[in-house]
Symmetry: C2
Subunit: 390 residues, 2 copies
């Protein structure tokens, strides 16, 4: 039997839906939710795509370098460095000269900067997608390239290119791994695609989840960033929130043609990251941090794979293969995504992401983030119980 809500749950579900509408196409944040529903025992944020082991690690280094190092006041009190001053300090880590690097207040600021400045009249966006790619269009039009359910929503380069030739967009978007499904193209496939896209004015490649997909993601990212030198139409961007587990600090980075960066910095993006975000970037130069981060990354990838195997055993759902740290889960027993989300929240304190507002998905979907082993186990067991006690 599929999940059906009782009266109390229905009321909460309506309040959640109302809150959701207010939040546009994004989930209300975990803190907003806790603030608005103080009576619910909300324990686990599975909307939230992160690496909690990296958060542990960040806090350890922050405590040592900043708190015990007596630098906290300075980070809080003074203006951060300007964009280029920060870029100049991370060129080796990112593999390109500072003129090619743009530092953003989270990757969403970077997407906004690109979309408000470089996408022309028409941008082709594979759907389902991360919603800012449909929303930040401003004076442009987003044309949808439907990723197909039959292919697990994985992008098929030839089909994509044929849509490119058909629509002749000024810009195209590639998210790799894609959000919300985690579908991933290998580096060689991306390189081939770039050849096919050489006449497109702007090619946006969002590699925010690459740390969960590659064996040596820092090297792969450097390779992608370096491609900007030979492909001036390419912009590669990456959030640092997900892999480093520091979404609250807002930091992202992009590689693009220096002329584009000159244009952005001439008109804005002054002091656009905080002192703490600046520390996040400096930390990438610390080999001790990077070595320990690598361990945390391998661990979270291993647990993601174990989570997949467990979810795949639950017969009321279909879990899509993912190279990111989350899974697109289809409810196949007649339960709606909203009811599933509400039941998990009210009964088990688990906040999942219903995908009813995601353009391009056909069916009832939720997105569930992978986390630590114990938390993943709790999610699996809660889902099983939710269906059992439906």
């Amino acid at each position: 039997m599929s999940i059906h809500l009782n009266k109390t749950e229905q009321k909460i579900s309506r309040e959640l839906a109302k809150l959701k509408r207010k939040s546009g196409s994004h989930s209300p944040s975990f803190s907003t939710l806790k603030w608005l529903f103080p009576k619910l025992n909300i324990k686990l944020d599975c909307c939230f795509l992160s690496n909690p082991y990296a958060t542990d690690l960040f806090l350890k280094f922050f405590d040592k370098d900043i708190i015990k190092g007596g630098k906290f006041r300075s980070l809080i009190e003074h203006y951060p460095s300007q964009n280029r001053a920060v870029s100049a300090r991370v060129t080796r880590f990112f593999g390109v000269p500072y003129q090619y690097l743009f530092i953003g207040n989270g990757s969403t600021e970077i997407i906004q900067a690109i979309f408000h400045n470089f996408i022309g009249k028409k941008v082709l966006v594979p759907i389902p997608t991360f919603s800012p790619y449909l929303e930040f269009v401003k004076h442009s039009t987003a044309i949808h390239h439907q990723l197909e359910k039959i292919n697990n929503y994985l992008l098929k380069p030839q089909k994509f290119l044929s849509d490119v030739h058909k629509h002749k967009p000024d810009a195209v978007v590639l998210i790799n791994p894609n959000n919300p499904d985690g579908g991933y193209l290998k580096l060689s496939e991306v390189k081939d695609l770039l050849i096919g896209l050489k006449n497109i004015e702007t090619v946006i490649l969002d590699a925010s989840f690459i740390d969960f997909a590659e064996k040596n993601p820092a090297r792969t990212l450097r390779t992608l960033f370096k491609l900007v030198k030979t492909h001036p139409n390419l912009i590669v961007l990456k959030s640092l929130s997900k892999d480093l587990g520091i979404a609250g600090l807002r930091v992202g980075v992009a590689a693009m043609d220096p002329q584009r960066i000159d244009g952005l910095l001439a008109n804005g993006y002054l002091w656009n990251i905080s002192g703490l975000a600046e520390y996040v970037l400096d930390l990438q130069n610390d080999p001790h941090f990077r070595r320990q981060y690598e361990q945390s990354r391998r661990l979270i990838v291993k647990e993601r794979d174990a989570f997949y195997r467990q979810l795949a055993k639950i017969k009321q759902i279909r879990v899509y293969p993912s190279k990111a740290n989350f899974f697109l889960v289809e409810l196949t027993d007649g339960t709606t995504a909203q009811d599933f989300m509400t039941r998990l929240l009210t009964t088990y304190g688990i906040y999942t992401r219903p995908c009813g507002d995601k353009v391009g998905l056909s069916g009832e979907f939720v997105r569930i983030a992978s986390s630590r082993r114990a938390e993943n186990d709790y999610v699996v067991n809660s889902i099983k119980k939710a269906f059992k006690n439906a």
Copy 2:
């Protein structure tokens, strides 16, 4: 005799000038400077406009609420709330419903948002000014309204309005108190000006330094914010960096017509402030914080006035009256601003802001921030010595 640099100082001066060019029309940050000149004993950042007592206070509350309260990890790890969710929590403090409030990643992001979206073809900017008002114009043209030296660079409403009638701009900028001179128009004068500007599409009023100018600045700010309801062409913005001493956290706020905010949020500004900036805003609802902040504010204003009296006694300079927490200082003995800045930096470790790049100033000027008593005394004595040992 005016100040002249020796060979070593000349070399440093050239490096500083080079660094300055790289930083556009802003001073290189204190941290960048320390990083690039590790051998100089740079002690005091007088470029930097802040209230260090408020920083002390912020750190005290942060330690209690966030560190000891066990909330630091959550601020770091999770996405912050969305713009409207934050706005909704500070409506009482700012005196207008959340629909009228826009939260910015520092006031510079707000200026950028306004300038990239609302200023039309022509914007009239009184000069000298805070340089983003000249730089963020993008596809618009900034027309200068020259503030007159004979009036201590204070804006004269009738002259301003006559320039408005002459140039017919789409938008006008008022910074009150103005940066870099600290000239201030009273609330009644601002209200009168708004009547004269009622046909201008967009009136931008930057009240970032109001806490140093008014007896009850929170009330005056609420009055200004409320004016937005009756003047839909008005946008009032305020940095929280200066008064609260937390520039590193990037937080600003603006009141404007709800339709404008809807437009901005439809296309961007998603998760644009950090978890720590969100805490800064929440803190304004804490009466204990506000009471102690008021003490810190009165103290810094008192010391600003004492600093003025001391500076005014130095015969080689002319200090302009200021209602902000900084002074525009003219060098009247033939010393150049660059030489003065370099000597103060190399010999006394004091970083001041030469104003050679400020459009609209005629003469050799530096801007010097006021700080605590001991620091102000050190600055006064160092300037005296610098001239004595010139």
